[in-house]
Symmetry: C2
Subunit: 415 residues, 2 copies
């Protein structure tokens, strides 16, 4: 349990920590609007400074001048696998186990159906009631397929994981970091628990990749999916990634059999034959312009020390938690750093209105129903002083109560 | 049958046609490399002149400065439906029937599973052996689902459509224009034939949208999918579109149930409830940067007269066919304009090497196995003189036989 004794207690202590911060140099690798403290990088990451030039290159030179030739000459064809291999070190994967393609939702469908097929005779999918909804919806879609089975949810009727595991369970899908509370699962222990019952384990890494080191391989995870537009800063809606452990490559199959997942896509054969490696999870032609922005953002990630990232993340969230507690706010996120992601969530009955008032004051966080104010801390472009200043503004806004007027006007607008 | 009597017989006649061409002004709306005659717009459309500025705006202003606020303030959230409604006039759809999302392959999966569910008791999917492979692979994936049925293919063992239709057939999936030969199906007649047998009809419009007027509504089609990166010029791998006839909106369902297809995605409810309209076919967060380029390209399409487009397309392909015949080449594409798309395919035993030699000379077409040289004619940025000049260069290349050397070096490289 964090006692927060290391957290600074004055702004000048924050400034001193910033001066000594080994990650401080990354701030200039991002473009951020003036007058904004951006605490929503867990929803949409900031613009890397090199992205605009990369976009101009892919649009004007590769598309405009190279045209169809760029599929080979500019390496477009290799991007889904190549970008996957660049994400691999961030998630503890080996080369060939990760591809970038489609959305997280579509990738979830692929790995869920693959996992169920790898456990014949078992049809139950277990997930968690508090998961990000798309995870729940996709488990529902997979369970609703002909021959599909039951969907069991941790947290529904008080069920815990152990009570839901039996020899009918094919696969368990959990979020490594909870999108609402910021709680971090123990990946190694949970994966081992699930395997003990003969089921496969899928991790949703949307809120952990780029927020902390992830060790899929060491933890023996079977599959994983994740966003690239949050902590990875790949741009709005940038394609997701999919991880499949090498041991499943030969036997894994899924019904989204498109030409990009074929062993020889340009042979134009009438029958499907899956590609080797995680490439069999590719489906259609990928959105190249969006991939190009991700390519630029991974140039930054290639240089990041993940242990230093995690240390700064915990220091920033620890500082914010202490300042929020000083303001008398209800902290939902675990105080124990061992089970905390890189966000801090505060419960407030008028959270929506307060968040709107904060945005007006330049502190951008977000709101998650029913009453969670959510603040993400991205160590690459946030400083200790940013956290201090954000907490001051939160204190001001709550004290002046201008958010109460905001509440009524906003509620009227969104109902 | 086209007698080609209207086709010009000299380059100066071509120049006269260009001078009188009502679509000639569109040429300056595109960026094309110098020294290139681009006959591959049916594979990757050219860069619209306004796209670079739009990309700069979405990257630097909307992402960089607007950050998460741009989902509302820049209208990102509305793009999948909004762009669908802008494609609607090009395919004969009503507002609300078309969405832009995912790849053609993923959209095919959604409409195929939806169609099979709408025909309970029927499990057979009919497609065509000569289809673009991803269509075949996805029908294979859908047929392979638990409870899935047989896949029957027109052209396998000489089968025609009528011989494959019986009361087990749930759905027929056909390409409106064949990607290899350029043959155009009679959409109204085929749809009526399929409906007569109680099955649903899905059209793959990849090679017809933006090449000729399409009338899905008039023809009573049930579903359709299509690319936006070919004739629509949306950029490499730009997201595909999906059409669902309004009469199916209430009852259609598919297993790719993601949060963007939910009736209230930001309510974060644990159970899935499909959105109204074609919106229920949305799945995950869309790749915004790729959608932004498509947005720019549709600014051009908003101004195009599709009847004038079709007239020029047939004139260009007719001219090219006559010139190819003069060169003694084997024309695979139908001579009859009523059943011809906007491409001309030539069969040549060394087609691959000839296409490579042509690319060296600045005439960019492509090759489709085993022996098809394929040339696409995009009326918005090609002139009659371009067609004339391309045919001259083809004649030169075949006469000098420099492609024979190319053949051996290239074959060595790609084997």
């Amino acid at each position: 349990m964090d006692d927060f004794s290391a957290a600074p207690t004055t702004r000048s202590q924050c400034a001193a920590l910033d001066a000594a911060d080994p990650l401080a140099g990354f701030r200039e690798r991002f473009v951020l609007p003036k007058g904004v403290i951006y605490l929503d990088g867990n929803s949409l990451g900031a613009l890397p400074s090199n992205a605009a030039a990369r976009m101009q290159e892919v649009v004007e030179r590769e598309w405009g001048q190279g045209l169809i030739r760029s599929w080979n000459e500019a390496g477009w064809y290799d991007l889904p696998r190549g970008l996957g291999d660049r994400i691999a070190p961030l998630i503890g994967a080996q080369p060939g186990e990760t591809v970038v393609c489609d959305s997280t939702s579509v990738n979830l469908f692929k790995v869920l159906t693959a996992a169920v097929r790898l456990r014949p005779g078992r049809t139950v999918v277990v997930s968690e009631l508090g998961s990000f909804p798309t995870d729940l919806y996709v488990t529902e879609g997979v369970s609703g397929l002909p021959g599909g089975g039951e969907r069991r949810l941790i947290g529904r009727d008080g069920a815990d994981l152990e009570s839901l595991l039996d020899d009918q369970v094919a696969v368990v899908l959990l979020s490594h970091v909870d999108y609402r509370t910021g709680r971090l699962h123990d990946m190694a222990a949970v994966t081992e628990q699930v395997h003990r019952h003969g089921a496969l384990m899928i991790w949703d890494l949307c809120h952990s990749v780029g927020a902390l080191p992830v060790h899929l391989g060491e933890c023996d995870a079977d599959f994983a999916v994740g966003c690239t537009y949050k902590y990875l800063n790949g741009g709005p809606g940038s394609p997701a990634f999919l991880y499949a452990a090498a041991r499943h490559h030969e036997s894994a199959s899924h019904p989204l059999t498109g030409w990009f997942g074929h062993a020889a896509p340009f042979a134009f054969e009438p029958d499907y034959a899956p590609a080797a490696g995680a490439g069999r999870f590719l489906v259609g032609t990928p959105p190249l312009l969006s991939l190009a922005a991700l390519q630029a953002s991974l140039d930054v990630w290639d240089e990041v020390d993940l242990e230093a990232l995690r240390a700064k993340s915990l220091a920033l969230t620890g500082l914010f938690i202490r300042l929020a507690q000083n303001l008398g706010l209800d902290v939902v996120t675990p105080l124990d750093p061992a089970v905390r992601g890189s966000q801090v969530s505060l419960r407030h009955p008028d959270g929506y209105a307060v968040v709107q008032a904060l945005i007006e004051r330049g502190v951008i966080g977000d709101f998650r129903a029913p009453d969670i104010m959510r603040f993400g801390f991205t160590p690459l472009y946030l400083s200790y002083c940013d956290v201090w200043d954000a907490a001051e503004i939160i204190g001001d806004v709550l004290a002046t109560e201008s958010w109460r007027e905001e509440r009524f006007s906003v509620r009227g607008a969104v109902t």
